[in-house]
């Protein structure tokens, strides 16, 4: 398959993830959408690295995977703390900082 096929697949995945981030009410659902978008980025990194015969793309993908895992851990910890304080994780109800 040509490089373009992988890039279009990643773009579709990114658009679907963005749709999830924009439309989900639940904070965990928003995090799932972010996961999809980061996966699309990883596909792009690996595809470009492979088609340019350059190892850096795969190393970058490894780094983003590790950082994503850290991000999910911190994000879910924040979600749990918010749930303890507010008893909800509906993003629309989290307006503690509204002036």
């Amino acid at each position: 398959m040509p490089l373009g096929a992988y890039l279009i697949l990643a773009a579709l995945l990114f658009a679907i993830g963005l749709f999830g981030v924009l439309t989900r009410r639940n904070a965990v659902g928003i995090l799932l959408g972010i996961e999809l978008m980061l996966n699309a980025v990883n596909i792009n990194l690996v595809a470009f690295g492979r088609f340019h015969a350059d190892l850096s793309g795969m190393i970058f993908a490894l780094f983003t995977i590790a950082i994503t895992v850290a991000e999910v851990a911190v994000g879910l910890a924040i979600v749990i703390v918010i749930f303890r304080v507010r008893r909800t994780i509906e993003a629309d109800h989290l307006d503690l900082l509204r002036g």
Partner: protein, 164 residues
């Protein structure tokens, strides 16, 4: 149709269908299961791109780790049975419009750029090359990544610790 094209088409269908499931299913727990399928399918895309090591990392970290902690978070914040786990979506039309616009923008750029060229041959063991690069040219970012992981996990523990 070559075997690679057939495999790509199959994994693309599975990947897109399961990611649509992630963003559209009303049950949050089902969304996580769809996410697991999507993450494994992404790993298969890495396999198609001759990166078996990344496939392994994807399975262990994402499909193993991320899905597990998301399930735990759902169990802590929702009841797994009953109505509370159902979630509605909002701004469906606006979200679809924005996502479609982003997709059209990216594809328009791709059409302009027209990435072509055959896939260059890859000689040697890729996993060994990745390992050498991680302790060679990328040694400092690799160590920094280790520090970042420790900081993030300690921070997450601090946030989520029980009171008192």
């Amino acid at each position: 149709m070559t075997a690679e094209a057939l495999g790509f088409a199959a994994v693309a269908v599975v990947l897109l269908a399961s990611s649509l499931g992630v963003v559209l299913t009303p049950n949050l727990f089902h969304a996580v299961l769809y996410l697991a399928v999507a993450l494994v399918a992404t790993g298969v895309v890495f396999l198609l791109l001759d990166a078996p090591f990344l496939f392994g990392v994807q399975l262990l970290l994402y499909a193993g780790g991320v899905v597990t902690i998301v399930v735990f978070a759902i169990m802590l914040t929702e009841r797994l049975v009953g109505a509370s786990i159902r979630q509605a979506s909002r701004y469906l039309v606006n979200g679809a419009l924005v996502s479609a616009a982003v997709f059209v923008g990216v594809v328009g750029f791709l059409v302009q750029m027209a990435p072509t060229g055959p896939r260059p041959a890859w000689s040697g063991d890729l996993t060994a090359a990745v390992g050498r690069a991680l302790v060679g040219a990328f040694a400092v970012p690799f160590e920094l990544l280790g520090v970042l992981l420790v900081i993030a996990l300690v921070g997450a523990l601090y946030f989520a610790r029980s009171e008192g």
